[in-house]
C-alpha cells in the first residue's frame, strides 16, 4: 500500500529494449515527499532510462511502481500533470527565451498573469536577463541549460526529475540552482536528480542511489555511503627516505592486518618513499605507524589525513562492481568493495 509520505516507490522495476537485454533491472527504491534523491552511475548505467521510466516516457517491462499514489503504468496524463521533467537532451522551441517561458507555461495551462510573473522570477533567478530576447540558437551552452531548468519551473509540480541539469554550468550558476532546488525541496517538492558531478550530489541530495549496469547497487545518505564504502579517512605518508622492498612489504602487511586498505600512489616518482591507505579508524593507526617508523629509523616528511569523498566512494563502488576490486585503489579513491550478489546496501 503506498504511503502518504512516499512520493515514489518502485519494486523490481525494469526495462528491456530487446528480449533479455535490460537497460534497467530489479530497481527497488523510494522517494519521500520533500526529499532529494540523487541518481549516480557511469554513462549507460541506466540513470536516464530510470528517469524516462518514472516519468512514463518508457513503459516498464517488469516490476511495479507507484508515483504520487498512482500506478506508473496507468497514471498517464493525470500523473504527468503532477511531474516536472528536465530532460538530458536539449529541448527548445524557436522563439525567444522570454516567449519560450510563457509559451511553455501556456502549454501547461498556467494562467497568463501567473506565467508572466513566474517568467520574470525565472529570468532573474537563472540569470537570463541578457538572453531574454534571444532565440535558443543564440544562447551559450550554459544559458541553454539554465533556460531549460527555468522553463520547467514555470508550472506547478510535486516531483521534479532533473537529468543532468547542471552540465555546462559554471560553479556560480550551479550553486545558485542547487540552492534554489534545496529551497524548493524544503517547501515539499520531491526531486530526482542525476549528475556526474558527485560533489553536487553530496551537497544537494538527501539520499543517493548508485546504479551500475542497470542495477541499483547502493541507496543511502552520502555520509552513510562514505562510511560503508569509503572508510572515514585516507592517510598518506611520505617517509624521509626510500622504503626498501622488504620494509615496505612488512609495513603493508601490518597495515592490512589492522584493517587498512592500501592505496596505489598516483605519482610513481614518489612511490618509493610513500605509503597511502584508507581505514575507518585511521587515527588509531597513526601512533602505531609513528612507532613503527621510529623502530626502523624512519621519519615522516609529510603526513596527510583526509576525509573520504563521495567521488572516491563512487569510483570505488563502481570499480568494485566492475570486478576491479582486487586492483590496488588509487590515492584519493576509497576502498573498492564488492556488494552482496544482487544486494543493495542501505535499502530499507
Amino acid at each position: 500500500m503506498p504511503s502518504d509520505t512516499m512520493a515514489l516507490e518502485t519494486r523490481d522495476l525494469g526495462y528491456s529494449y530487446a528480449p533479455g537485454r535490460f537497460a534497467v533491472r530489479h530497481l527497488s527504491l523510494n522517494l519521500r515527499r520533500g526529499e532529494v534523491l540523487g541518481l549516480l552511475g557511469r554513462n549507460g548505467a541506466g540513470k536516464t532510462t530510470t528517469v524516462r521510466l518514472l516519468t512514463t516516457l518508457l513503459p516498464p517491462t517488469e516490476g511495479t511502481a507507484t508515483v504520487l499514489g498512482q500506478d506508473l503504468r496507468t497514471g498517464g496524463r493525470d500523473l504527468r500533470a503532477r511531474l516536472g521533467v528536465v530532460l538530458q537532451s536539449e529541448s527548445l522551441d524557436f522563439v525567444t527565451v522570454e516567449k519560450n517561458l510563457t509559451l511553455y507555461a501556456f502549454l501547461w495551462g498556467v494562467a497568463r498573469e501567473t506565467a508572466k510573473t513566474r517568467a520574470e522570477e525565472m529570468i532573474e533567478l537563472f540569470e537570463l536577463e541578457q538572453a531574454r530576447r534571444r532565440k535558443p540558437w543564440a544562447l551559450s551552452g550554459g544559458e541553454r541549460r539554465r533556460f531549460q531548468v527555468a522553463r520547467e519551473l514555470m508550472h506547478d509540480m510535486e516531483i521534479l526529475f532533473l537529468d543532468e541539469p547542471t552540465v555546462g554550468l559554471d560553479a556560480i550558476a550551479r550553486r545558485r540552482i542547487l540552492r534554489y532546488l534545496r529551497e524548493r525541496a524544503r517547501g515539499g517538492l520531491s526531486i530526482v536528480f542525476t549528475t556526474h558531478i558527485l560533489h553536487e550530489a553530496d551537497m544537494l541530495c538527501d539520499r543517493i542511489a548508485v546504479l551500475h549496469t542497470g542495477r541499483l547497487i547502493a541507496l543511502d545518505t552520502a555520509d552513510a555511503l562514505k562510511q560503508k564504502h569509503g572508510g572515514a579517512r585516507e592517510v598518506s605518508v611520505t617517509f624521509d627516505s626510500v622504503l626498501a622492498p622488504g620494509l615496505r612489504g612488512e609495513l603493508t602487511q601490518a597495515l592490512a592486518s589492522r584493517g587498512a586498505l592500501l592505496l596505489e600512489p598516483e605519482d610513481p616518482d614518489t612511490a618509493a618513499t610513500k605509503v597511502a591507505f584508507r581505514a575507518s579508524a585511521a587515527e588509531e593507526l597513526l601512533p602505531w605507524l609513528s612507532h613503527w617508523a621510529q623502530t626502523h629509523a624512519l621519519g615522516f616528511e609529510r603526513l596527510a589525513v583526509e576525509e573520504a569523498t563521495l567521488e572516491g566512494v563512487f569510483l570505488g563502488m563502481v570499480g568494485g562492481a566492475d570486478g576491479e576490486e582486487n586492483a590496488p585503489a588509487k590515492v584519493g579513491d576509497p576502498a573498492n568493495r564488492t556488494l552482496p550478489p544482487g544486494g543493495v546496501e542501505g535499502l530499507t
Binding site: 516516457l57 493525470d78 522551441d93 524557436f94
Partner: protein
C-alpha cells in the same frame, strides 16, 4: 476557462514554429505563381486547352489544391523539428497524450491549408472574378483540401517517425513535393494527347483528384466522378493517418540528429 490540450498544442505550433518568413514564402510562392505564371501563360495558352476559360482560371483551383501540400509540409516539418529538438519528448513528458499531439499537428495543417485557400482565392479574384461557387461547391473545396492535407501531413509525419537523419527527411520531402506537383493536374490538364503512361501516373497522384474536383466545384459541374475522387482522397488520408499513428506508437522518443 481551461483550453483543451489539443488547442494549446495548436497555439504552440503556430507560435513557436511558424516564423513570418516561412509563412510568407509558403503562401507567397503559389500566390506569385498565380500572378506571374497565370498572366504569362494566359496569353499563350489557348482557352480550348483549359476548358474554355483563361489559364489563370484553370490555375487558381490548382493552386488551391496545392495548399494541401503546403499544410502537410508544415506539419511534417513541425514534427521533424520537434523531434530534432527533443520537444516531442518534452511535450510527452507533460500532460498530453500522443493522440493529442498528433491531433494538434493535424489541426495545424488544416488551419494552415484553409488560410492558404483563402489567400489563393483573394489573389485569384482580380484575375478570375468571383467564382459561382454553390454552398456544396464551397464545402467540396474545403473537404478536398482538408482530406488532401491530412494525407500529406500523415505521410510526412509517418516518414518523420522513421527517418533519423535531417538530410534524408528534407531531401525526400523536397523530392516528393516536386514530383507530386508536377505529376498532377495542378499546372496542366490531362488531354487526349497526354501520353498514356504519364496520364496513369497523374491518376495515381492524390493531388490530381483534388485539383480536378476543385475545378469542377469552381465550374459548378460537380458529379459522380468527384464523389469517387473524394472517396479516394478519404481512403488515402485514412491510410496516411494510420501510418502516422503506427509510426507514433513505434517511435523511439529519444532525440535525433
Amino acid at each position: 476557462m481551461r483550453i483543451p490540450p489539443v488547442l494549446r498544442l495548436v497555439v504552440r505550433n503556430f507560435a513557436s514554429n511558424l516564423d513570418p518568413l516561412t509563412v510568407i514564402i509558403r503562401f507567397g510562392q503559389p500566390a506569385v505563381t498565380i500572378v506571374v505564371l497565370g498572366t504569362m501563360f494566359s496569353s499563350i495558352i489557348s482557352s480550348s486547352v483549359t476548358g474554355g476559360s483563361s489559364y489563370t482560371s484553370f490555375l487558381v483551383p490548382g493552386m488551391i489544391a496545392f495548399q494541401m501540400i503546403t499544410g502537410g509540409v508544415v506539419s511534417g516539418n513541425l514534427f521533424w523539428l520537434d523531434r530534432r529538438w527533443a520537444m516531442v519528448e518534452q511535450i510527452f513528458s507533460g500532460p498530453f497524450l500522443r493522440s493529442e499531439y498528433l491531433g494538434g499537428l493535424v489541426l495545424t495543417t488544416l488551419l494552415f491549408s484553409l488560410v492558404g485557400v483563402g489567400v489563393m482565392m483573394l489573389v485569384g479574384l482580380p484575375f478570375i472574378g468571383l467564382p459561382s461557387l454553390s454552398l456544396l461547391g464551397v464545402g467540396t473545396v474545403l473537404l478536398t483540401v482538408a482530406l488532401g492535407s491530412v494525407f500529406f501531413a500523415g505521410l510526412l509525419i509517418a516518414l518523420g517517425t522513421r527517418l533519423r537523419s535531417a538530410n534524408a527527411y528534407f531531401t525526400i520531402q523536397s523530392f516528393l513535393q516536386l514530383f507530386v506537383i508536377f505529376l498532377s493536374t495542378v499546372y496542366y490538364p490531362i488531354t487526349p494527347r497526354t501520353p498514356k503512361v504519364l496520364a496513369a501516373v497523374f491518376y495515381g497522384n492524390p493531388l490530381t483528384y483534388a485539383a480536378d474536383t476543385i475545378r469542377d466545384a469552381f465550374a459548378g459541374t460537380l458529379g459522380g466522378g468527384d464523389l469517387v475522387s473524394l472517396g479516394i482522397l478519404a481512403l488515402l488520408a485514412a491510410a496516411a493517418f494510420a501510418a502516422a499513428i503506427w509510426g507514433f506508437r513505434a517511435m523511439d522518443l529519444g532525440p535525433i540528429q
